[in-house]
């Protein structure tokens, strides 16, 4: 049985059968961060899990995707137009953030239903940039 002792703000010592570990913890319920021995842990509640991709399947319609920016970014180029068919992996929109280009690629073969961003626009991660179906 492990014993946990708080030894500082956000710092815990965990004693487990004679072995000790120092664990750093921060965050709020639903999104907790921890660090122990060079490894970063993050625990998020279901529904808030962010994946490395940027496509979100619309509920009940697995063949449609809303493509969003993974982070606040500037739209460098919009490479598709409404009604266009795209193949999986095609670049739809080119973003730039922190001096790096971030291509937004099609997660599957699809048709562009709507484009909701313009070149030069600063976009936020909660905005849908391109609707695919």
């Amino acid at each position: 049985m492990a014993t946990v002792t708080q030894i500082g703000s956000g710092v815990f010592r965990v004693d487990d059968e004679g072995r000790q570990a120092v664990v750093y913890v921060a965050g709020a319920a639903g999104d907790m961060w921890a660090f122990c021995d060079g490894v970063i842990y993050r625990e998020r509640e279901r529904g808030e899990q962010r994946m490395s991709g940027t496509a979100k399947a619309r509920r009940g319609d697995p063949a449609s995707y809303q493509m969003a920016a993974p982070m606040p970014a500037t739209v460098v180029r919009v490479l598709v137009s409404t009604g266009q068919s795209v193949r999986k992996g095609d670049t739809l929109v080119l973003l730039e953030a922190m001096k790096m280009e971030l291509p937004i690629r099609a997660p599957a073969d699809a048709v562009v239903k709507a484009i909701n961003c313009r070149e030069g626009e600063l976009v936020q991660p909660d905005m849908t940039l391109v609707d695919l179906a």
Partner: protein
């Protein structure tokens, strides 16, 4: 002597320069954009001037706003740091014209060495070996394509105006060339405001070895030995060290001599770095090196040189810019022990190294023997989306490479940063990698081994960590919901949970 120095930069390098000012009794002036109003570099300076909105083009990259800040603060000198305007000849020239001391080389040297074609011509004339390549006269897609054919494949397409790997693309065959040219041009244009491209032959499996040089106005040019920076990810340095394992005493004397020759040939002044590609494929004793480029500024990795020489490069920069002779001379500049630097970035290696923005909920720098940390953030700092996501540089110094590597590993294992993803686990996997430990690395090391080192799956939470998370949740009682402001934070800023809650797949 400079009396009031404006630092046209932010983050760790601004702090580094401010500390040198304090030691020299020079007044420091920080500049800041809106999101940096409470940044550590602003708090540490003697004075500070607001220079504009968040985008770098309207603040840290704006010559007009920076010159206004110089006038408003009464500064008599400007230190550009690295990045931003540090290698912008027009900015240095504007300072010169306004009678302000620019801590760096003369503007004409920046412009000359910043142009790859002019730099190569000069090096060739000075007898320094160069890699086949050219800046096409015809910068159209067709013109650059033709130039690629002339230098041969594999080749590199890169920004003619810049360094640091921005706007650089590898092209293995003609069919990939067009896309690479267009992408490189866009990145070059947005990073440097100049879309001109340079193409060159790619030397396979080279080592990146650079030589620190320093020159004053009294005809002294010295070198401060080499740094090896072969651990790079897409041409961005990740780990830097000195001495280099592949630099034998004989190669050291050849390569440092070439570097000093290069600095003399361009009329260099202040701190600079000559980067070389070293081809070791012909075996020990038959190494060949080629001039890659010159960085006409202080480098991110300058602490590595400071650690092995025991010298203060930033202090010397300010003295030399004030017209004083170099504080050291070559016979007694020595290389002692081994130093390794790791760059800690707010980026997520498991999702394509996506830069991370957000608040540092917990940030505790380790304190241990032989560890130096140059950082620009503190617990509670916000990492803005607009700038380079470098948080800290951790530099380990010890008697040998092996000891220094172990020391760096121990420091990174004891460096908790929570609230944004960092590359610390990635850095640890590099430092523990058998190829790194044995020194069998070249500039392609990370790009080839990258997938296994980057890590993809989030780590399983072990029992001890689970116990601590549960204890933390209990200790703090019920938490506010994600859309309510959090009351415990000491800085009345935008609530981080609101920002995080809007992140989504």
């Amino acid at each position: 002597m400079i009396t009031r120095l404006l630092i046209a930069n932010r983050g760790e390098i601004a702090l580094r320069i401010i500390r040198a000012c304090s030691e020299l009794g020079v007044e420091s002036v920080a500049v800041y954009s809106d999101p940096d109003a409470r940044a550590p570099h602003v708090n540490a300076a003697d004075r500070s001037v607001h220079i504009g909105p968040p985008p770098a083009v309207d603040s840290y990259l704006s010559t007009t706003r920076l010159l206004d800040a110089v006038r408003a603060s009464g500064a008599d000198a400007v230190h550009p740091g690295y990045g931003f305007l540090s290698e912008n000849g027009a900015f240095a020239e504007a300072c010169e014209k306004a009678g302000i001391v620019f801590v760096g080389p003369p503007s004409a040297v920046i412009t000359q060495m910043g142009s790859k074609i002019a730099a190569r011509r000069l090096m060739q004339a000075a007898g320094v070996p160069i890699v086949p390549g050219e800046t096409p006269q015809d910068q159209s897609d067709a013109g650059v394509l033709a130039a690629l054919d002339r230098v041969g494949f594999p080749a590199l397409v890169k920004a003619s105006a810049g360094g640091g790997g921005k706007g650089m693309r590898r092209v293995d065959e003609q069919s990939q060339a067009l896309e690479a040219i267009q992408a490189a041009r866009r990145e070059a244009d947005s990073a440097f405001g100049d879309g001109s491209l340079y193409v060159e032959r790619l030397i396979e499996r080279p080592r990146h070895v650079e030589v620190q040089v320093f020159a004053d106005n009294h005809d002294h040019v010295v070198h401060l030995f080499e740094r090896e920076c072969s651990v790079q990810r897409r041409h961005q340095k990740v780990i830097e060290e000195s001495p280099s394992l592949v630099v034998t005493p004989r190669l050291r004397s050849r390569i440092t001599e070439a570097a000093v020759q290069a600095a003399r040939a361009c009329g260099y002044r202040n701190a600079g770095t000559i980067e070389f590609l070293v081809d070791v494929s012909a075996g020990r004793g038959a190494e060949r090196f080629y001039f890659l480029e010159m960085n006409t500024r202080l480098q991110v990795e300058h602490p590595v040189t400071e650690q092995i020489t025991g010298l203060d490069l930033v202090r010397a920069q300010i003295l030399v810019a004030s017209g004083e002779p170099l504080p050291w001379q070559s016979p007694w500049i020595t290389q002692r022990g081994h130093a390794i630097e790791a760059r800690v970035y707010a980026e997520d290696p498991s999702s394509g190294f996506l830069p991370q923005a957000g608040r540092l909920l917990l940030y505790r720098e380790p304190r241990m023997p032989g560890i130096r940390i140059d950082s620009g953030v503190e617990e509670g700092s916000d990492v803005p989306v607009h700038y380079d996501p470098l948080l800290a540089k951790v530099i380990a110094t010890a008697a040998t490479r092996d000891e220094a590597t172990t020391r760096l590993i121990c420091a990174l294992r004891a460096f908790p940063i929570l609230g944004v993803q960092t590359n610390i686990p990635f850095l640890l996997r590099i430092l523990e990698h058998p190829r790194f430990r044995s020194g069998e690395i070249d500039t392609g090391f990370l790009d080839n081994e990258g997938a296994s080192i980057a890590g993809t799956a989030p780590p399983q939470i072990p029992a001890a960590v689970r116990a601590a998370i549960d204890a933390a949740a209990t200790a703090h009682g019920p938490r506010p919901t994600s859309h309510e402001p959090r009351a415990t934070d000491h800085k009345p800023r935008q609530d981080p949970w609101e920002v995080l809650a809007s992140w989504r797949p």
